[in-house]
């Protein structure tokens, strides 16, 4: 059963309720609710910041300003304004859409984005639940998001959306494989799937030094998994208009948008954890180090997006099966040999 390990506070909280004779489930539910609210709040703030940041980065790369009006200094409140606008917008469900699936799809996507945050170690002890299968858990959960995308694409009853969903399915199935295999190398080195243990194993040396190939493979797959340029073919606006979420508007669209950025943060946080030594770093507090590294990776993702053109579907598959998979396997083989040789 799931239980919270974050220090004495929670245990004392439980004890308090036991003392009052209230059923055990009540305090646990309260704790769950609080944790989930904190995560949602965190996701929202991070996603809004990321959206604003991306608009700024893209604008400056393109020799323009980006949002400048809302909120004074460089339009910092633009994301909030957009969010409020989307919240207030009319919720449109196409007449011929598959209603229950249409409504369920953004929830599935968001739930997947939310659940992945459970095992991200923001600092020593700053983790919701240190699962001993942490990395595997993240990968498993992130594959749920694809299901949501397919549901959205299918239920919209729109050919573009269905094409986007088809592409997304193919993409997800292909890129899951090199993603998992590229992560096995660092896991071998650390000897554990738990995220905190992996960070602790990088006490002396970041794994990016030992596993540069794995890092590149993972990062490429991560970009593909989050459907971002150059791999954003499920929503390629010049071909499929907006792909799977073409029929979504208002709040549901905002959820998709939020989930996309939340997923970006997740994959970058995992990369930080596995390859960049997690929260480790001199002088600054651990959580700040963690965020700094993660945001650097996020910046690289945005930078890539505003530099490159979109690949084609068949090229996407080629990259997955003919480039990334051999690289990941090569890395895994080398790592295994080295680990065997040195132990």
């Amino acid at each position: 059963m799931p239980h919270i390990q974050s220090g004495d506070l929670v245990a004392r909280f439980y004890a308090l309720f036991e003392g009052w004779g209230i059923p055990w489930i009540v305090p646990r539910l309260i704790v769950m609710l609080v944790v989930v609210s904190i995560i949602i709040l965190f996701i929202s703030v991070v996603a809004m910041f990321l959206i604003w940041w991306e608009r700024k980065i893209s604008a400056h790369i393109q020799a323009r300003f980006g949002p400048m009006r809302v909120g004074g200094w460089h339009g910092w409140a633009q994301s909030i304004a957009d969010g409020v606008k989307l919240l207030l917008k009319e919720d449109i469900i196409p007449t011929r859409a598959d209603r229950p699936v249409f409504i369920l799809a953004p929830m599935v996507v968001f739930a997947a984005a939310l659940a992945a945050y459970v095992v991200i170690p923001f600092g020593p002890g700053l983790i919701v639940e240190d699962l001993n299968i942490g990395i595997l858990y993240v990968i498993a959960i992130s594959s749920l998001a694809v299901v949501g995308i397919i549901m959205a694409g299918w239920s919209s009853n729109n050919k573009y959306a269905a094409l986007g969903a088809l592409r997304s399915a193919a993409q997800a199935v292909s890129y899951e494989v090199p993603l998992v295999i590229s992560l096995i190398g660092p896991v071998l080195l650390a000897g554990s799937l738990s995220t905190t243990k992996i960070v602790e194993a990088q006490r002396y040396l970041w794994f990016i030094v030992l596993q540069p190939l794995a890092f590149l493979t993972y990062f490429t797959c991560a970009v593909a998994e989050t459907n971002r340029l150059p791999f954003d073919i499920p929503e390629a606006e010049s071909e499929l208009v907006a792909g799977f979420h073409v029929e979504y508007s208002g709040m549901r669209f905002a959820i998709f948008f939020l989930a996309e950025y939340a997923n970006m943060f997740t994959v970058c946080a995992i990369a930080t954890t596995v390859f960049l030594g997690g929260w480790r770093g001199p002088l600054l507090p651990p959580w700040l180090w963690f965020l700094l590294k993660t945001f650097f990776l996020l910046f690289v993702m945005m930078w890539l997006r505003w530099t490159l053109a979109r690949v084609r579907v068949d090229q996407l598959m080629d990259v997955a099966w003919k480039v990334l998979l051999p690289l990941a396997f090569a890395n895994l083989g080398i790592t295994g040999l080295l680990v065997w040789a040195f132990s």
Binding site: S58, P230, T307
Partner: protein, 380 residues
């Protein structure tokens, strides 16, 4: 509405439809049809099997308007054909009228026309490069190209007062001489512009994704290109060295030294590469024109009420998009009896159903981008 979709229904009934093989409407509202073009595409999975273009959403009956206006009044309407190369449309129309009426225009006007026309070609190709980048998913290139294009527009605005629909040329020359110091501005612009081209190349020509995306797709064989009477970069991309500026020189193009870039295989890459090279060549022509532009008047003495002698003419120029022809029949009055525009993109677009089948949807976007259509010109 029901009758309008009759053809679509017939098409669907004849071929049947399933998810594996389906008809997709690309457009009329679609980000990469460059306007309101509707492509009915038969998809087999992701592969395009058939393509039926529908257009006319922007039809304004340009030719009917032309039949009801005096010769000089048509000039502002020609701007609205290919609104990305208005100067060239002006030129084509004015040239046709001048040939019809036998008017000789002054030397300075000839030079200025070449200068402005080539600047227009640069602007037009820049916008094409940018939107082509957009089709391939590169938004940054789009913005960069637009920045330089805006500078060309600034130059044109200083000349004509307008940024898009200049109506600057007149039958017999130009409406006005260029302002003082303008030629220096053009020089300064070229100085700024030339180092920008390698920057575009970094994002496009040299980039592996860009190369892989457009090499070997949308092949138009030379015999098809001739049969469909393609012109401009589409024809040259297919490996046919044909440029009206060299092969049927109009104006004073025979005085300038420039190359005709030619592709080899006729794929999207070749068409891209030809246009990319043409920007360089246009820069060359502008520099030459700047060097030996003579002083003098810019408008030949023409009558206020222009009347063309009875007769007809098919006059053609090499606009940025290909052979822009004007077929004018004059009946001696001050209005043309028949005025037909042979729009280059209308003709180039008719080769699209030949280019698309067998490639992916993503390629369809690239191929359509490489044809470089302007829907206002297609529909007229």
């Amino acid at each position: 509405m029901t009758t309008v979709n009759l053809h679509l229904q017939q098409v669907k009934e004849q071929t049947g439809e399933s998810m594996e093989e389906m008809w997709v409407n690309m457009g009329p509202q679609h980000p990469s049809t460059h306007g309101v073009l509707r492509l009915l595409i038969k998809l087999d999975g992701e592969v395009v099997r058939e393509c039926i273009p529908y257009m006319g959403y922007m039809h304004r009956c340009h030719e009917k308007i032309g039949e009801n206006r005096a010769y000089v009044q048509i000039i502002p309407y020609t701007d609205r054909l290919d609104y990305l190369a208005s100067m060239y449309n002006n030129w084509a129309y004015c040239l046709a009228c001048e040939r019809l009426m036998g008017i000789q225009i002054p030397e300075r006007a000839e030079y200025l026309r070449v200068l402005i026309g080539e600047l227009q070609r640069i602007a037009s190709h820049l916008i094409w490069l940018g939107t082509f980048g957009l089709d391939l998913g590169n938004f940054t290139l789009f913005m960069w190209c637009f920045r330089e294009r805006e500078m060309v527009l600034d130059l044109f605005e200083a000349v004509s007062g307008q940024r898009l629909n200049y109506s600057f040329m007149r039958i017999g020359g130009l409406a006005l001489d260029v302002p003082e110091g303008w030629l220096g501005d053009v020089k300064a612009f070229l100085q700024w512009f030339k180092p920008r081209l390698p920057e575009y190349d970094r994002l496009s020509t040299d980039n592996i994704i860009w190369q892989k995306r457009i090499q070997g797709v949308g092949i138009l064989k030379p015999e098809d290109a001739v049969s469909y009477a393609c012109s401009g970069p589409v024809l040259r991309g297919s490996g046919i060295r044909w440029d009206l500026r060299k092969n049927d020189p109009y104006g004073i193009y025979d005085r300038f030294e420039f190359d005709i870039p030619v592709g080899t295989s006729g794929d999207v890459w070749d068409r891209f590469w030809v246009r990319r090279q043409e920007i360089d060549q246009s820069v060359r022509i502008v520099e030459q024109a700047l060097k030996d532009i003579p002083p003098g008047p810019v408008l030949a003495p023409v009558a206020k009420k222009l009347r063309a002698p009875v007769g007809d003419i098919y006059s053609r120029v090499e606009s940025p998009r290909g052979e822009l022809g004007d077929y004018i029949i004059a009946d001696g009055s001050e209005k043309p009896y028949r005025y037909k525009v042979r729009a280059p993109t209308f003709v180039n677009l008719s080769a699209l159903p030949v280019m698309l089948p067998g490639y992916l949807v993503a390629d369809a976007v690239a191929v359509l981008g490489s044809v470089d259509i302007v829907l206002c010109e297609v529909d007229r």
